[in-house]
Assembly symmetry: C2
Homo-oligomer: 452 residues x 2
């Protein structure tokens, strides 16, 4: 069977050596189960993807599309007896059209490489998942990746104008186009963005670029003695139309993990820190206004950076969070969203759940979007604690839904969160999703058991 | 058969009187064919829609959902033997959540009524089709309506967070939600937005509101002796990151229709006028910068308004366009989009097509989005000229596609533009759209013959 696939692809495209395959079996979801693949297929062109999917359809072989493997929900973990389809080798920027503010990229292009390629034209590509230096644009599109700048510039879907997609049976379609407005046909572009490899394989994307902001961003940090104040400040800043280009929250547990890891002189008793930024033409005035909103909402300390170096320093605590919690133990990072007005309730509820299970939950996230990452920290290799973390994470997902929110803000469902989909979707809504899956993948070979 | 429907609905919901039905047969696409419906069903609740669709499924009766009937592509024209499902009576604003910047509305709510309802909270709903004082939000959502403010705030899809939809068989689903980020499941919300009543009937929408801009907008008008200059100015303004809140174009033919209609002292020899606006916190500076971009691109006259009254006066020519062309004859308004950098080529091509057919084409539109409305003007009641207009409109659609654009920017496909879909979609891409239609409407009862 694999000989047939080898014959259809360039030499060396099909890997079966267990040592070579090992690097393609898991993604960054360390708690996800990953199987033993039949083969890893490394493609270099749309034609290779077509050949691979025709073969997979003919032989009913599950296909796991994969970019850089930086996903955190098990969406790219290998499946027993399936193939891993690595698109990392399709790394050409096909076109940069400055007058149109668009770029056409292949799925293996690294997010930051596109940024560097267009910077000389005074442009940037807004979506900035934390992994942007190592993750691929194909993976970003397949998961509808978020990031810090989303609060101003939207998520990945808001920057995708069109796609080239290979369907399960090998047909190639072109969705959307190069225009910012387009009502011809259904929004198949939006449908494939975030579909986690379950509807087709993305082989090119027409992305929307933006002019670089006119000034260096200005940053502030505000410390809140109580959670409701931090929540109120977020709502007030957004309602005032101050358009922060970043608005992050660090909760009390996170503050303490960070201080344990490196002394930053953060207030270990603060309920939360808000870190905000403006990149507008009047960034200093806008940040001053945000600082006033924080004070009015009860912040007891607000620091505004006076230059770019200070701005970077204020962001340092947020950047250290990942290293601080992973130094403290094994972690499970959740990803829930609520309407912005319910942030404080979500944070209070997370604290309650942490207390119930006797497990620290260090929460950070994109407060301006109501999207938080409660991070469960437990002793290295403690299997019982790991199970407790998964149970507690389920409680957090249920809480988010009760507050009118979502079990997944920007990381996807992957294989890790499927059991909680029923919390969010009633039976008919879930069935409507499955109708789409059934239409595009009737044989169920595209990343089965992942996403919806 | 209708008795069964009457029994399932409140008294008076089913209209069969031909005089009463007459008002529901056509939309604003005067050249579209409209049929003789079996009945008009005026619903007041989601439950009524469920009853109606269950009945329609049982009896295989085509259903044409309808808001205010302001569509211009025949998407809401009645079908022989079908029913017209009027959602205009579902006009409740269910909720306005200021802290979340969301509103939940029923489909019959008039766009401008939502604007008025939230203005007191310092908020606004950005999408502003020209019909915003009379069109319904349900219709806006079903067509993914555009408008003047889209250039800054995006199209209707960008302001819809979630939907309540009744499927063809009467099942009710909830798509999306109340959060600005959400990756649980496929983007069914985006799929239903712009689906022109062909996949389900929208019975509620969770809409995204925005803080009102801090200042009165400032307006400029620039007059260009040559088309390429106007195109270059549009690209330069957008690339400079000046974020106009409106950037409209009026071509030479339109200038002359407007001057014929009312003396405005426009330059009858100008190739095009650009009208732009900023609503930013530094609107005056931003408009001054836009004016400089226009001069650098070859504008021979640029006027900047010094107050709100002057701003309004400068917009007057754009507003008069509709009245000027309809006073001159029958009109067919097209709606094409191109990548922004191809605007001048599109305009030049439209002039060429007008000359070929000996028919004036007065073009206006949303230049900042690359979305133009070539308007074919011909003698009242001249059937041959009407056929010529349709043929010429086909040529314009083909031209837009050749330039990397779309046959439909914001008005939809309706019944009028289906014949040109094949210009834009290859066979496999078209088939992918039909797979979605087939999944959601296997019996083909939802607005058959419209949209994709």
């Amino acid at each position: 069977m694999l000989d047939e696939l080898r014959a259809a692809l360039p030499a060396g495209a099909v890997l079966t050596d267990p040592d070579l395959m090992a690097g393609y079996r898991a993604d960054e979801a360390k708690l996800a189960v990953s199987g033993a693949p039949l083969a890893v297929v490394t493609v270099g062109s749309t034609a290779d993807v077509v050949s691979t999917l025709r073969w997979a359809t003919a032989h009913r072989v599950p296909v796991v599309p994969r970019g850089a493997g930086t996903g955190v929900c098990g969406g790219a973990a290998a499946i027993d007896g399936g193939i891993v389809l690595s698109l990392a080798g399709m790394r050409r920027i096909r076109e940069i059209a400055v007058a149109d503010l668009t770029a056409v990229v292949e799925p293996g292009v690294i997010n930051a490489d596109l940024g560097r390629a267009v910077a000389g034209e005074g442009l940037f590509y807004p979506p900035d998942p934390s992994s942007f230096e190592i993750s691929t644009l194909g993976g970003n599109v397949a998961t509808n990746a978020g990031g810090l700048r989303c609060v101003k510039y939207g998520v990945t879907r808001d920057s995708v104008l069109g796609l080239e997609v290979v369907l399960a049976d090998g047909r190639v379609i072109q969705t959307g186009g190069r225009t910012v407005k387009n009502v011809a046909g259904y929004d198949l572009t939006g449908l494939f963005v975030g579909s986690e490899g379950t509807l087709g394989v993305i082989t090119a994307a027409i992305l929307r670029l933006r002019p670089k902001p006119p000034t260096e961003p200005v940053t502030f940090v505000a410390s809140f003695p109580k959670l409701p104040g931090a929540g109120a400040a977020v709502s007030a800043i957004i309602q005032a139309g101050l358009a922060p280009s970043l608005l992050e929250l660090i909760d009390n547990a996170s503050i303490n993990f960070i201080e344990d890891y490196r002394r930053m002189d953060l207030d270990r008793n603060a309920a939360a820190l808000l870190i905000g930024q403006s990149d507008s033409a009047r960034a200093a005035e806008d940040v001053a206004a945000m600082a006033r909103q924080c004070e009015a909402a009860g912040a007891d300390l607000v620091v505004v950076a006076s230059d770019a170096t200070e701005s970077e320093a204020l962001l340092e605590a947020r950047r250290l969070h990942h290293w601080a919690v992973t130094a403290a133990g094994d972690v499970l990072t959740d990803d829930v969203g609520v309407p912005r007005g319910r942030l404080a309730e979500l944070l209070t509820g997370i604290e309650r759940i942490g207390a119930e299970y006797g497990m620290p939950i260090a929460t950070v996230g994109h407060a301006g979007d109501g999207n938080l990452h409660p991070t469960f920290v437990f002793p290295h290799g403690d299997e019982a604690a790991r199970q407790t973390a998964l149970t507690a994470a389920g409680d957090v997902c249920r809480l988010a839904v009760e507050l009118g929110g979502t079990i997944a803000g920007e990381h996807g469902i992957g294989s890790m969160k499927r059991e909680w989909l029923a919390e969010q979707f009633d039976a008919d809504t879930y069935a409507a999703h499955r109708m789409v899956k059934q239409a595009f993948d009737p044989l169920g070979i595209l990343n089965p058991g992942r996403g919806i």
